[in-house]
Amino acid sequence: MVENRPWLNFLSHAVLIAGVLMVAFPIYVTFVASTLTLEQILQMPMPLMPGDQFFVNYSQVLRAGTVGGSQASMAHMMSNSLVMALGIALGKIAISIIASFAIVYFRFPLRNFFFWMIFVTLMLPVEVRIIPTFKVVSDLGMLNSYVGLTLPLIASATATFLFRQFFLTVPEELAEAARIDGAGPMRFFIDVLLPLSKTSIAALFVIQFIYGWNQYLWPLLITSDESMYTAVIGIKRMITGGDAANEWQLVMAAAMLALLPPAAVVVLMQKWFVRGLVETEK
């Protein structure tokens, strides 16, 4: 702080508190709605204090989804989301770290060609090539499967870049020493490079876990079987009709459950999260 200006300090806190309230408001209302009965939600205006239906609503959603609409159990859909998020995060890290190792620590024909091939994928988000990608996955018989949910999304230019940047900062002496001691490339990779990459891996994991958990368009396209729905898709499927036709208290309970795991990851792993975010985008 350069100088002391009490009114400006007051203003800063006021703005920040307003910001926090704005960010928290929808979640608060969602939480309140998830503890009420449907009748309470449908009265205008709905109460803004939590009700007493917390256990009723959450156990209903976890066991069997909604009563009248989609009956896929939220617990099952969350386990699908978990498989998908972990599959994508770990898969991306695994294939990217070995690819960057090859690109940084070897000289071989077509090295730059492969590097650019990976780089170009940055420019092709799933959203712009929906139909042909869907056809490929369908031809391979991967619809409604975990492989179909994860595999097409695990190629990652950003992760490959991050590891490449990091490997380039690793001192040359380490590889030199390893070679003099007679260690082969894989030995060097496993015993030296992997332990050094721990922080990058953690940071990347947080970002990619959230990315995987929050996928929407892809699972929407390739899952038609209720048992393969992810949590985010499940909520969309619970909303069937107009304002009054939905079991809002259950939809809101499901929304709370679906946003809890990634939110917990962000808050608990804040340090890695910020690092991962700032580094992967650079």
Partner: protein
């Protein structure tokens, strides 16, 4: 930058690259090539035969008022999302950079919407603004605003802008905060000694020094508005009412999946790819040059 010390092996580097390259080819290049191929084809109504029609699909697109409308909608939407997303988060980040007490707590409370899926953000805001039962709708009615985004296109647009901005604030906030914290304190102190007040210091020193961050975020936010907001829109307006919120990505999905117009949808995909390539190139060009200092 290259390594001096490298390993030698005739097959190992290829084996290490194989998984990444295989997935890239099967799920990126093949579909992208197919999209390009389909975009020159016209399928009959049953999807049995297709014939090569050259640029006809593209001509049809640019002759179609709906497609041009979708371009305009996308432009309005992404400008609104980028502007409000950047303005609000810059304000919050500037304030958070000032305060000493509680800075970490504010940061924690501001960053977690990043974790909320766009589709869920859409559901939450659609519920708040629901025409007959929404809490916000209730208060708007009290103030005499007739709120119903199901039938009012402008209100539908406002709803998806609010939901998209809300979700993106945390991301912008983190980058602005990191940018602000990297500005040397000595510059600001020197200006303060010379008698410049906080507002003057912000506009003449902080804001220009922040321009690389701002530019980077501008591109990221436009890309976000173009593509990642699919979930927000599908969970709220679904492009309606009467295509008033049908942005380009949503139209690709709608025409390809719901209306099964393979050629038209693929032609749209190709145009979108060109837009992404242009945006990415722009970003790299300017990030390299560091905008201005």
């Amino acid at each position: 930058m290259e390594k001096r010390v490298v390993f030698r092996s005739a097959w190992l580097p290829y084996a290490l690259l194989a998984p990444q390259i295989a997935i890239t080819v099967v799920f990126f290049f093949l579909p992208a090539a197919q999209a390009a191929w389909y975009s020159f084809q016209l399928q009959d109504a049953f999807g049995l035969r297709s014939e090569f029609v050259g640029l006809q699909n593209f001509e049809a697109l640019f002759a179609s008022p709906q497609y041009l409308q979708s371009f305009r909608t996308t432009a309005v939407f992404s400008v609104l999302v980028a502007f409000f997303g950047l303005a609000i988060s810059l304000l919050l980040a500037t304030m958070a950079d000032r305060v000493l007490r509680g800075a970490l707590a504010y940061k924690t409370f501001l960053i977690w919407p990043y974790a909320v899926a766009p589709a869920i953000a859409g559901v939450l805001w659609a519920f708040l603004f629901a025409p007959s039962i929404g809490v916000v709708t209730y208060f708007l009615r009290k103030f005499g605003v007739d709120w119903n985004w199901i039938i009012n296109g402008d209100q539908a647009m406002l709803l998806i802008v609010i939901a998209s901005v809300w979700k993106q604030i945390s991301y912008n906030f983190l980058f602005f905060l990191a940018g602000l914290q990297s500005i040397p304190r000595s510059l600001i102190e020197a200006a303060a000694i010379d008698g410049a007040g906080p507002a003057r210091r912000f506009w003449t020193i902080v804001f220009p020094l922040l321009s690389p961050t701002t530019f980077f975020l501008l591109v990221v936010n436009i890309v976000y508005a173009f593509f990642d907001t699919f979930g927000v829109i599908d969970a709220t307006t679904q492009g309606g009412p009467a295509a008033d919120t049908q942005i380009l990505v949503y139209k690709v999905y709608y025409d390809g999946v719901k209306a099964a117009d393979l050629g038209g949808s693929s032609a749209q995909s190709v145009i979108l790819m060109l837009i992404v390539v242009a945006l990415t190139a722009l970003q790299f060009r300017f990030v390299e040059k560091k905008v201005q200092y």
